[in-house]
Symmetry: C2
Subunit: 413 residues, 2 copies
């Protein structure tokens, strides 16, 4: 294991995450009822149960005519059976009633003949096929039985869940309240976007980026501004955030053997404070995970890419836990052929940024390299991450890799 | 080609889409400026140009000491070069200044030695390695040059674009205004969700589902209610919608050889009206595409699954065009092994619903079957579509298929 000043040792990311979640006291999330219209993308807080059967009644699965099957025995195109058309709610022998897909089956009928297998002739209906009971009929409760679990607690609702809930008559759903996350940046060199920038300052880009990834997952974020490189100021802001927020994410003020202002500030505020500082992760080695008042505090690097990778490894699982999910929601994944060798350090998990293209039916992942590997532009030029595990030293050109996608796939014509 | 009453022939989906887009007069979308905070997920309306270099100045890529490389010639762990520590803005010969990652390089320095390759000893700094000019320095403009295109018009902004825009000092971005889409259901059998349901009525589930998929893509939807099975009532509602909306989507009132109330209503309203009615698509054959007043009108089946598949094939491309994209944004995709044979009809594009699981490093797609293939529950139980092309008659078990994912991947432990 690489020896570095300031870190006794680097902790494996899986171990770090485990220690963190063992320590954290994340309770059952709060619940709110939202209208169906606002429920898509939210996380279900309790199992959604069918309150009735679907279909609600026997209905036609086709456009055609409802009839008694006994009347169709032996019917064929060469020997049609002839029926009387009725509009009655109930049919009797040798009668048919026209039904469109979804219409209830009229009383007395036990099957539906498809329109294609019939002909209107001299005011009567000719049927060209023999039907069996239940043909082209969707039975009551065939899709869903009253009491069935439609979707489990912890599921992120998509438009189809919403549609199914509507079909079952739900107008509201109980979802997990959005966890509240404080975002704080530290650094004397930082200026807020929108302020006039002078001299050696740079614009803070991390708060807004971290806020966007949190909100994408379904959290609510509050901007706690920029703290100067001063332990007391940092501690004050974190303490204030803990009063109302469910978690705190900081960026900056943690390093490899250098200034560790944020870990120091967190340790000053209480126990256990920092749980792990320094992880076997590239980039994002200086990431620290902490707990104060039972709440998670995630201490990310000031380097934008390291902050994003640190969030990916620790922040996503944290937000998913706060949302009441039992597992971390995976990003979309795919397998691709690596277009060029990538290097990685043995003993560290390495996040490689790649651009995936679908070409001729095959997925190719081109590593995005840049002189400044800490530049956000390596993320905007990519659409996915390849995660090289700790026991690998690089991945060869032509190897198949799993890519975790965060951007739109490029489809070549 | 299958001959059906009511349809002279079924049009291939690609041809239908082509005819539609050739006819449509979709202009340049309207533009609005939104704050960075609200820009994630929106579509960029013009190329985003770097307004300055990134980095803004030569900066340190490491935690360490800035120095003149000439002073490090021949240095090694066994023969350290010794330096004086200074806090000055400019260094002179045999001086170093401490720098953290991201700090500007002090005047006079041309490289940075990593902290790991140094030692503080008796108030001086020992340097253990020989440096070359530029070592551990990120040069001004190395990541991005002023004038570079950061993201192209038509790109959907993700958190990383937002971060990069922030780093460049943007506090607002110009995005495409949300297209306005009217959603209308037709059918005497339908009741609005939230109303008391009686007799043979069913709850309308399609409007809210279609609205959710449109909003997921970045459109704004307006609910135009439920029209009775009456051409005039349907025509009135569509005409009203066209006054303020950019597109109209209807569900119900189009069938295979049966009632075609919506196509009839649309044709009553003007030219060209219906462009294609009846597509070689399973499910969703009765889908019709139309144009009124230069605006797209998408006529979907009343069957929920057929409505969703019709939207997938025609609605997604339509919304992407309205958003100013030159191509349809693909869903996340992956290749999976089909776990069970699926049937499909030669001559029709078939959308098969599957549930994809990642197990032992391999993706498996299990077709989701149900007695009622029109049931929304087949969508909530799936997480992706396999599209079987027109020239295939089924796909065998064990074949590799491309899955278009709409739900979260299931990761087996």
């Amino acid at each position: 294991m690489v020896k570095l000043k300031g870190f006794q040792k680097l902790t494996l990311t899986d171990q770090a995450l485990q220690s963190w979640f063992n320590a954290l006291q994340i309770g059952k999330p709060n619940v709110s009822a939202v209208s169906l219209k606002d429920a898509s993308g939210r996380v279900l807080s309790e199992d959604l149960i069918a309150r009735e059967d679907l279909p609600r009644f026997d209905k036609s699965a086709m456009d055609g005519y409802a009839l008694k099957t006994a009347d169709s025995v032996g019917a064929s195109q060469f020997k049609p059976a002839t029926f009387q058309l009725t509009e009655n709610q109930e049919i009797t022998s040798k009668q048919v009633r026209q039904v469109w897909t979804g219409n209830p089956i009229p009383k007395g009928a036990n099957a539906v003949v498809m329109l294609e297998n019939t002909r209107k002739y001299e005011g009567k209906i000719e049927v060209w096929s023999q039907l069996a009971p239940g043909d082209n009929v969707s039975k009551k409760g065939e899709d869903i039985k009253k009491g069935d679990v439609i979707a489990e607690a912890g599921v992120r609702l998509n438009p189809y869940h919403i549609g199914l809930a509507a079909a079952l008559g739900y107008s509201q759903l109980k979802v997990v309240e959005k966890p509240k996350i404080a975002i704080l940046a530290t650094g004397n060199e930082l200026a807020e976007v929108g302020t006039l920038l002078s001299g050696d300052l740079i614009y803070d880009s991390n708060k807004i980026m971290l806020s966007a990834v949190c909100r994408e997952l379904g959290a609510e974020t509050t901007d706690y501004g920029i703290a100067k490189d001063n332990v007391d100021e940092i501690a004050d802001k974190i303490q204030k955030a803990l009063k109302t927020q469910d978690a705190v994410i900081t960026t900056g003020g943690t390093s490899v053997g250098g200034l560790d202002l944020v870990p120091d500030a967190v340790n000053k505020l209480g126990k256990p404070g920092v749980i792990v500082h320094g992880v076997a992760l590239r980039p994002a080695m200086p990431t620290a995970i902490a707990m104060l008042e039972g709440k998670p505090v995630l201490i990310l690097s000031g380097n934008p890419v390291a902050a994003i990778i640190g969030f990916e490894v620790f922040g996503r699982p944290m937000v998913c836990r706060l949302l009441g999910m039992s597992k971390t929601e995976p990003r979309p994944m795919l397998k691709a052929t690596l277009a060029r060798r990538v290097a990685s350090a043995l003993g560290r998990k390495t996040y490689v940024r790649v651009r995936v293209t679908l070409k001729g039916g095959e997925f190719y992942a081109e590593p995005v390299s840049a002189k400044g590997s800490g530049s956000i532009s390596t993320l905007t030029q990519s659409n996915g991450f390849v995660i090289v595990p700790e026991n690998r030293e690089g991945v060869s050109e032509g190897e198949t890799v799993i890519v975790h996608m965060f951007g739109s796939l490029e489809v070549a014509d």
